[in-house]
């Protein structure tokens, strides 16, 4: 039986998008291939590395573990949606300031997971930052500076 496409309307980075998606495509594929938002990365494809983290309806999720069709009616924020009027947000600035970016591949997912953490807990402890980012792997091993960046952003150092 040929699988029909599914009609999806979602708000992505503040813009309402209506598109036809393949039923077996993930939200990650839809963002990267249909909407050309390639900031979100594909890596492990099994929910272990967090490279594909985006915020859906105010909660961080692995976009590799969500069907594009499931995003119908949802509000999605990707790494491309954090900067406002061409200016990076405080957390992004903090990542730059702390030198938290090495190869950079994990960083979009890292930033989105950290943003979600700060949205729910504006002043996390270092332990809470570690727990909040436990679902994000950095193969450069740059965790110390990443944690530092999130901690600095939470203290409003970049304001």
């Amino acid at each position: 039986m040929p699988a029909r496409t599914v009609s999806v309307t979602m708000t992505v980075n503040g813009r309402v998008r209506t598109l036809e998606v393949q039923p077996h495509h993930t939200l990650l594929q839809c963002l990267r291939e249909q909407l050309e938002l390639t900031g979100t990365k594909e890596c492990c494809s099994m929910g272990e590395c967090g490279a594909c983290t985006v915020i859906v309806d105010g909660r961080s999720v692995n976009s590799c573990l969500m069907l594009a069709a499931e995003a119908d009616g949802c509000t999605v924020t990707t790494i491309e949606g954090l900067a406002q009027d061409g200016r990076l947000n405080a957390l992004q600035e903090s990542f730059l300031e702390a030198g938290a970016v090495q190869c950079g591949f994990c960083i979009p997912g890292m930033v989105m997971a950290a943003q979600d953490l700060l949205n729910h807990n504006p002043h996390p402890t270092v332990e809470q930052i570690k727990e909040g980012l436990a679902g994000n792997l950095c193969r450069c091993g740059g965790y110390a500076r990443i944690i530092e960046a999130v901690h600095a952003a939470s203290r409003g150092k970049m304001e």
């Binding site: 594929q29 929910g47 909660r59 961080s60 999720v61 679902g135």
Partner: protein, 296 residues
């Protein structure tokens, strides 16, 4: 050993019924060719690995009568079919009556997983290592199932058949999970053994509940084809004067129903040895919590 692969998912039809009746019709039309989708954090991994190749995936999230919240009646908490693990962790009623469930839910996967995964989904996936299950078992959770023609309630201890298999029939949907609020004072403790701290499946997990009357329940995960619940009403394990060696002997008796195997996470000898260690630990913790409550 699972191999890393980034191939796309198996192909299927996607359906998002708006009512339970529509969902039951789809289940009837497609029988075993249908998969139910709640949070999808287990399902999508299996669709990618081709462990499941359904003709149709039925998304439950637009069904008006399936709830995504927790409701409280005089004697129980009812956890809706679509309740996220994140909601379990944050819910004040869960934390008041069943803190060990919130604690166990907080160990599942990562924040991103817990923001998507549902508690009923964790149960229906029927992993012998599911971390929420031991806490639900010691609290005597009931699984409510609906089908086109009937509703039935199955004690969670009778729900699991084997890895990935439950007593849920092809035409049935889990509509909620009930947790009876304990009538007497109880305390519970949960522990798990993993290879690394974050985002790992449990090599073993253990939950222990003790009541003021001395009743003790243990639930064990990842040490058998399905999670195991055992009960000891002798009161001897709760006796602080009990000799340590005798306590171990009694506990080993309770562990007889477990049958650990060796796999990628742990060897069976290690599992058996650690099962006793963790069991003693959660028993002591639960007794300490109970004692602290008494002093309050």
């Amino acid at each position: 050993m699972e191999t890393l692969q980034t191939s796309s998912l198996t192909r299927f039809i996607y359906a998002r019924p708006g009512t339970l009746d529509e969902a039951f019709q789809l289940l009837e039309d497609h029988g075993p060719q249908a998969c139910l989708l709640a949070g999808g954090t287990d399902l999508i991994v299996q669709l990618r690995a081709r462990k499941l190749t359904p003709r149709i995936v039925i998304d439950l999230k637009k069904i008006d009568s399936l709830r995504r919240d927790i409701t409280e009646t005089q004697s129980l908490l009812r956890i809706g079919a679509l309740t996220l693990l994140s909601n379990i962790i944050d819910d004040p009623r869960v934390n008041r009556h069943f803190p060990v469930l919130a604690q166990a839910a907080a160990t599942v996967g990562s924040v991103q997983i817990r923001n998507r995964a549902t508690l009923p989904g964790n149960i229906c996936n029927a992993s012998p290592a599911a971390d929420t299950v031991p806490a639900l078992l010691v609290h005597q959770a009931i699984v409510n199932l609906s089908s086109r023609t009937a509703e039935r309630a199955v004690p969670l201890k009778d729900f699991f058949v084997g890895p990935g298999k439950t007593v849920r029939r092809a035409g049935e949907i889990v509509s909620s999970i009930d947790l009876p609020v304990p009538e007497e004072r109880v305390a519970a403790s949960f522990a798990r053994l993993t290879r690394r701290r974050g985002v790992d499946l449990a090599s073993i997990n253990v939950c222990c509940l003790v009541s003021a009357a001395g009743l003790i329940r243990f639930a064990f995960g990842a040490v058998g084809p399905r999670p195991i619940l055992v009960e000891d009403g002798s009161g001897r394990l709760a006796d602080p004067a009990m000799d340590a060696r005798e306590k171990e002997r009694l506990l080993l008796g309770l562990l007889e129903q477990t049958s650990p195997i060796s796999d990628v996470r742990a060897g069976k000898e290690y599992r058996s040895a650690m099962l006793l260690v963790l069991s003693l630990r959660v028993l002591q913790e639960a007794l300490d919590i109970l004692r602290a409550q008494r002093r309050e």
